[in-house]
Subunit: 427 residues, 2 copies
């Protein structure tokens, strides 16, 4: 038999990042009756199948009415191979203007198969040889760490600290890497309600981060899946891209949380100018598009039509489209933090109170690992995520992540009761 | 400004494979009035927007009636994040049984974002270090060459010869590579109506190829986008996977030509057993799934629903579903070869007469390059593909590829008149 040994396959397959997702999914499947404070998926109670039909119709009408396509062109657009950089680029540019106040040339956009492909394209482009490294603010989303491993791009951790990013550490990590002959290409950061920390950068930190990046000649990879979900009256802050005056930010966009994950549509804004040996220039988006042509050819037109239709039905504003979802997440987040406060008045454990998003972090006086999660699922009936999945290295991590996005309000109290029982049994 | 130089980006960006597609697309866009014998896209006259709505409804009914999902589960399946290996795996397994006579464990399938992602997953898994190389039968589809470059996996050419693959050369290339300290992992081959050669392997060559692969301990990557399109009464031959008794074939499947490219849904059959250091085993499909989780997370559920619906509407047979398309391609292929015979009775040029598929190759007594294509588009009004795009190296290639798939019958005669004028002017 022509069978294989995993040691003869790509090294990423045995790396923790690629196995975390599987492990976490398997625990959830294994204990379907456990209440999940683990899943970072969006609320699904507002979805309706008939919306998919309506999105498709709305997008087809846009192709006819606004772009002037005849019937054959509409069919071709939906059924055939299409533009590598995508077909909803103008609508995404309108969305960025409406919701983020950012003016983007639609040609600087690549529509991708979810934000994950956007990361893959950007990291692949930036890895020229084995001196290149990526920086990522810790704790880091496992999708960026995993994508980097897959592309043989080492990741150096930058401390997150209490402000979401420790800028002194950023400068120190860059300096040390260069002293080792490495070439730090970019720093990955999620400035708004980060996964997993829940932290946001304040305005001053955003401005200083851009300044440090300029001083260190680093690109910033800004990932913003949760920015539309402030809670408790928090104001939305400008994205790094909105503050970026020198094309230093590659902006990674997702529609998974703001529209629907099942479309698998995301995007990257890559307006950097790329010089070529013959003296010509191109947009980084065009270089990413070449890579995309060899990864997925183009993003499914049918899937793009879903996002295009949803955008069109909401004047291209997803702030408007997510009014009910925003209220749901804010109420759930409040119920979680209030519920923790009611259950641990003596300060035996601590937690942060994020100003929005899907996640908060609970810090406990004992190590939290996958074994404890499995026990929590089996014996206590509650799921959460060990923070150890978001750190490099093997030191024990005394924290866990709770998610407020896909739990129902009725489930929160029993979920917290179960979590409390688990924690008290460890104290 | 934080701008970039292409020499600081991944080397694949300047490789021919990644620029071929762009160049060919640009020529087509630049000369929209030229008749295209270049495009390998499927015929589009049978597409109808209402089919997309019907596919979605059919798939939702299948989820309810056959899988027993309630309404909330159907919504969750379409809207949410889903199974990494896909949700139409059972239907694809039925399709493989119906159309190819192959029995596949649905768990050995990964549903991918088109066949291109299937290639990326397989090549990524098989590249453990820089000794690893891929073999590809020349002339080779640019998608495999490009994907390999993107993954830092060198490609060694195996001669195609007149039988579609030169088995002596295959053994010689493997031997020479091993002598150089390289590790040939797999050989990529398109046994049916290959792109770009139009050649098919006969049954004996298929059996001998499997035997040579076993002797050389090589995997085979079988790509089969065109197998359903025999012409002129040709019989369909068993795929390599159908003949494979030792899990030596990784089968790459596409729905772009047999259903619709706009869904971007393909798959890989990876039933190889992978051993792990702890003594456990997994399917190669599960390892590919881990890689997929870091490339695209999962294939769009909405896009999968389109393919699932189309399969369900045709008892999972795409042979049945493509009756009209098959007749169209066969008639066009015949019109091209008959038209060439009528125009060049004296044998000034030669061409092959494929037994099916989308492509044939015309051999001429002068070099054929991109400059000639640009002149053909501008001065003669006809597009085709220089065969040089499918070879490594810089030797001039005296051949061009014609495609019969997306031209209308009425366009074929004027297209051949224009091509004849170009060729006669070069003789």
């Amino acid at each position: 038999m022509a069978d294989l040994d995993v040691t003869d396959l790509h090294g990423a397959l045995t790396h923790r990042a690629l196995n975390s997702m599987n492990f976490l999914n398997e625990v959830a499947q294994h204990y379907p009756d456990a209440i999940s404070l683990a899943a970072g998926r969006p609320a699904e109670q507002f979805y309706a199948i008939e919306d998919l039909h309506a999105y498709l119709d709305t997008f087809c009408r846009y192709l006819c009415d606004e772009l002037g396509y005849d019937e054959a062109e509409v069919r071709r657009t939906l059924f055939q191979y299409g533009r590598t950089k995508g077909i909803v680029h103008r609508l995404v540019a309108r969305n960025l203007l409406a919701d983020e106040g950012v003016t983007v040339d639609p040609d600087a956009l690549v529509i991708t198969v979810g934000c994950q492909e956007a990361m893959v394209l950007a990291l692949r482009a930036l890895r020229a040889d084995d001196r290149d490294v990526l920086l990522a603010v810790a704790p880091a989303y496992v999708g960026i760490t995993g994508a980097a491993r897959l592309l043989d791009l080492p990741v150096l951790s930058v401390a997150g600290g209490n402000d979401g990013v420790d800028l002194d550490d950023l400068a120190a990590v860059v300096k040390a890497a260069r002293a080792d002959g490495l070439r730090p290409r970019a720093c990955y950061v999620m400035p708004d309600f980060a996964n997993p920390s829940g932290l946001s950068l304040d305005l001053e930190t955003r401005e200083r981060l851009l300044q440090v990046a300029a001083e260190q000649d680093l690109l910033l990879l800004e990932d913003n899946p949760y920015g539309l979900f402030p809670a408790g009256g928090a104001e939305r802050l400008p994205t790094l891209k909105a503050l970026d005056t020198e094309r230093r930010v590659i902006y990674l966009g997702s529609f998974a949380k703001t529209a629907l994950p099942g479309a698998r549509v995301g995007y990257v804004v890559a307006d950097q100018v790329v010089g070529h040996p013959d003296g010509t220039t191109s947009l980084l988006a065009d270089e990413l598009s070449k890579i995309k042509s060899m990864v997925t050819v183009n993003t499914s037109a049918v899937a793009q039509a879903m996002i295009g239709g949803k955008l069109l039905q909401n004047d291209c504003s997803l702030v408007t489209a997510n009014r009910r979802e925003r209220a749901t997440y804010a109420a759930n987040l409040r119920a979680l933090t209030d519920g923790l406060a009611a259950r641990f008045p003596a300060g035996e454990i601590t937690w942060n109170v994020p100003s929005g998003g899907f996640f908060l972090v609970v810090t406990v006086p004992f190590p939290v690992d996958d074994t404890l999660l499995a026990r929590s699922a089996q014996e206590y009936g509650v799921l959460w995520t060990p923070m150890s999945h978001f750190y490099d290295g093997d030191e024990p991590i005394h924290a866990l992540r709770l998610s407020c996005s896909s739990v129902t309000p009725e489930e929160i109290e029993p979920a917290l009761d179960r979590l409390t029982a688990l924690i008290r049994d460890q104290l």
